[in-house]
Symmetry: C2
Subunit: 264 residues, 2 copies
């Protein structure tokens, strides 16, 4: 059973995870960050020790959570000096579990599927946690830990997780960029972004109960060339947005052509 | 003061508007639809008469609301036989107010900015209503009517409204398509779309309080070529999604390059 952890990293996910674990009575013993100030800032929030020296990590934690940017994981691993039976996980969507195999006998992945900010408190009871491990006892420990945080714990292998992360890029990063485009179009006409907020929320709420393919509306699915043509023209001063408009419009039309009628 | 209306159309917006007006004590006297059954279906919900004959419209309503698809507006207008002082509006984002000028002396636009379904009851108290009219007295009437439905009533001219509609296509239709893409990617790996729902909602909620340009995260804004390359490869079996991925990724990177640092 995992009663305490060391958190390696102090970014958005590391921060929210440390706060959530502490809230559930799991002790964060120590926080590592390359920047001592960042380590200290997070450590103080969860009443932990802190360090910027990987070789100085406590060696007796039940779990080591590596939550740093993807490209820094390997370097962190190379600099750890833990015993070979320590349980180590990373939290990265796009990185295989196997990256950990050379460094310990017990490893896995702990991937909460949400977009985290330092400033917005994450509600883990609404966040699916995707876990994977290289052996049953590690998996059981991670599952128990995940279940203390969230009712939605999923066993997800590395290939599935990469695809989840890819889907997340579409529904989070790319969706947010469409919000940016909307706000740029409005700003150009002195209109307030607030006007779009009810629609943004409704669009997200609609797919809680309807599948997105059924929820689709608009000129693209109707292949309404007069609106599409006029809107492409309105976008003349935003050539990149115009390109996105064309490709997404085409893609909407094609995917709905492919659907059997009873889905629409 | 507008005490009663005739609704021309029986689609999603016509339906929700008829219900909302009735709920506020504005009488829907009559519903027109080309299909008599559709006219009847909506008319029964709001205790109105119905017709599929434009020349048989009641001539004494305070307001005529044309809520049909864009391409059908002109044809509806040509077949009306109302007196020249009737107040007529359309509800279309992309159509100029001037389309109405040949048919009456009092006209305008009544454009609720939301995505409507027949089956989801619209909450007009959360929906911005954009209005425009060709004279002050018509504008005042439309404003009073809009204010009975919503606290957010905006005077928006035809050019602004077209841009609002364009922005709405991005933040509603296109966003929904990204949800479709997310669900296709998951389906291909036997993963449930439910996994993405908390993230979808959080992404929408985040821009209630943060501007979208500040809320952006992910591999594109970091120009993380190793993740971007791997994700493009994962998309090999979905060439259209791959194209969208590339263009949106580029656009995210470029727009953030252009922002002054203090915005980020």
């Amino acid at each position: 059973m995992i009663e305490n952890v060391v958190i390696i990293g102090s970014g958005n996910l590391a921060t929210q995870l440390a706060l959530a674990l502490t809230g559930k009575g799991i002790q964060v013993k120590q926080v590592f960050s390359r920047t001592l100030d960042s380590a200290k800032e997070l450590a103080q929030k969860v009443n932990a020790e802190f360090t910027n020296d990987l070789s100085g990590l406590m060696t007796d934690a039940d779990l080591y959570i590596i939550s740093v940017k993807d490209s820094a994981i390997e370097e962190v691993l190379q600099n750890l000096s833990l015993n070979k039976n320590c349980l180590i996980v990373h939290t990265a969507g796009s990185i295989s579990m196997d990256i950990l195999s050379r460094y310990t006998n017990n490893y896995g992945v702990f991937y909460p599927l949400q977009s985290f900010s330092k400033s917005r408190k994450a509600n883990f009871s609404k966040i699916p946690i995707c876990i994977e491990a290289n052996n049953t006892s590690s998996l059981q420990k991670l599952q128990d830990l995940a279940e203390t945080l969230s009712p939605s714990v999923q066993l997800v292998d590395s290939d599935q997780r990469k695809n989840l992360h890819l889907a997340a890029v579409f529904v989070n990063n790319f969706v947010n960029h469409l919000y940016v485009i909307g706000s740029e179009i409005l700003q150009d006409k002195n209109l307030n972004f607030n006007l779009l907020k009810p629609m943004i929320l409704e669009t997200a709420l609609k797919v809680e109960s309807l599948s997105p393919i059924v929820a689709q509306t608009g000129p693209a699915i109707r292949n309404d060339q007069s609106v599409i043509g006029a809107q492409l023209k309105l976008l003349q001063k935003f050539p990149e947005f115009q390109k996105i408009y064309s490709f997404v419009t085409e893609s909407i039309y094609h995917i709905h052509q492919k659907q059997p009628n009873d889905l629409l």
